[in-house]
């Protein structure tokens, strides 16, 4: 894949993570203003789902080095501990590569379950590493639902972009 392709893919992943930040800021403001007595319930993983889509859609073009590089850039851009997204991107990329062709046989529902599960695993790891105090199963369950709902729009949106730009 040429350099422009990588730029487009990274830009889409970056926008996804940026959107996650915006959504969580909005969530937090609403939470602080209105729902302070209720625990913080859900977190979206749009950036991760977009990365998963690209690996799922073009596994032959996105390999371990790309996952490593994208992870490093995301860690740097969003101020996370260096290595977290690298590690997670490499791991999820490996799993998707192993089952790349099998995924073609999956229904949309099965894909939703798998990718929402991956997003919840990512959230669980993130909370366990960075904020074990705030780890909550309720948050994971609600986040699973949110990310399951987000998968199909991301899937069709990214497919539209891929067919026109890559």
């Amino acid at each position: 894949m040429n350099f422009n392709g990588h730029i487009i893919i990274f830009a889409s992943i970056f926008l996804g993570f940026w959107l996650d930040t915006i959504i969580s800021s909005f969530d937090i403001r609403t939470h602080i203003l209105i729902l302070e007595s209720v625990p913080y319930l859900a977190e979206s993983c749009i950036g991760l789902l977009i990365f998963c889509y690209w690996v799922y859609a073009i596994p032959e073009k996105l390999q371990s080095s790309s996952a490593l590089l994208y992870g490093l850039l995301i860690d740097l851009c969003f101020g996370d501990a260096i290595g977290f997204h690298m590690l997670f991107f490499v791991a999820i990329s490996y799993v998707i590569h192993v089952y790349a062709l099998r995924f073609r046989l999956f229904s949309y529902f099965q894909l939703i379950i798998f990718f929402a599960g991956a997003a919840v695993f990512y959230l669980a790891c993130k909370y366990l590493i960075f904020s074990p105090i705030n780890y909550s199963y309720l948050l994971l369950i609600f986040s699973f639902c949110i990310n399951a709902l987000a998968w199909l729009p991301i899937y069709f949106g990214m497919r539209y972009i891929r067919r026109r730009l890559i």
Partner: protein, 277 residues
């Protein structure tokens, strides 16, 4: 049929990638190896946002010239900023009066005046890490330092009413502030005659003390005021930090005292940094 579909990349490369990233993660988490690089990129990001914000601000200003309310909005904004600035100044003046009673004589009013002017910097907020503020243990914000004033680490930061945190380095003319509620922040406090080290709870507006159960700690009640003890050497003593929101018995002969902080960092755009307290 094969049990699993073939991969496009040998597993060895993924294992290598995993090892590299795990090593980086451990190095960063345990030893803060890349904190400088991370701080720099974060500061650059904030600068980009500020520049974009300025561009948007200028654009909206140009369009606002065609509106009658422009002057009123500007005056209102200016007055609000002035008010916040004044609040910070008054707060600092009160603190100076308390702390300098013993060292400043009546015959040195000029010295005191100079001290007041030079001892406080009122800085506007540049960025608030809202994403981590509610979800995670790290609670920080960045203040703009356009005059490039040399601001040391571990100086108290206040919001006009009480202290909200302390300085913690900075990058590219931005001052990083670690809030009292950050899980890594420890503040020595006193409640009545009881002293303890309150650690940030990692949740907004909350700090907590975990102390052994004894007669002193058992006398504490919900809504008792928590004051700074001054023992840490950063904050002056006897400033109201918050009040007890709940006392939890954890059945290990220890009690957890949760304190609701008084200073809400989300309420203001200007924060004062005391250079002399």
């Amino acid at each position: 049929m094969a049990r699993s579909t073939p991969t496009y990349t040998p597993a060895g490369k993924y294992v290598l990638g995993g090892i590299i990233s795990a090593a980086l993660l451990i190095a960063d988490l345990n030893y803060q190896t890349f904190s400088a690089a991370r701080g720099l990129t974060q500061a650059s990001g904030i600068y980009t946002q500020l520049i974009l914000g300025n561009i948007v601000g200028y654009t909206s200003k140009i369009s606002a010239t065609f509106e009658d309310k422009k002057d009123l909005i500007a005056t209102n904004q200016k007055l609000r900023d002035e008010l916040l600035h004044m609040q910070n100044k008054i707060f600092l003046a009160q603190q100076l009066e308390l702390t300098s009673k013993n060292i400043l004589d009546v015959q040195e009013p000029l010295l005191k005046g100079n001290l007041e002017q030079e001892s406080m910097q009122s800085l506007k907020i540049a960025s608030f890490d809202l994403k981590n503020y509610l979800c995670c243990s790290s609670h920080t914000l960045y203040l703009r330092n356009p005059n490039k004033v040399d601001i040391a680490d571990n100086l108290p930061v206040f919001n006009g009413h009480t202290f909200i945190g302390q300085t913690f380095g900075g990058d590219l003319n931005l001052v990083k502030v670690i809030l009292l509620s950050d899980a890594s922040h420890i503040l020595p406090i006193k409640i009545k005659d009881f002293y303890c080290n309150a650690r940030g709870a990692g949740r907004p507006l909350e700090i907590k003390c975990v102390v052994p159960q004894n007669s002193e700690s058992s006398s504490l009640e919900v809504n008792d005021l928590a004051l700074s003890s001054g023992l840490g050497g950063v904050f002056p003593n006897n400033i109201v930090i918050g009040k007890i929101s709940s006392i939890i018995d954890n059945n290990l002969n220890e009690i957890e005292i949760l304190i609701r902080l008084k200073g809400d960092p989300l309420q203001q755009n200007y924060f004062g940094i005391s250079l002399s307290l």
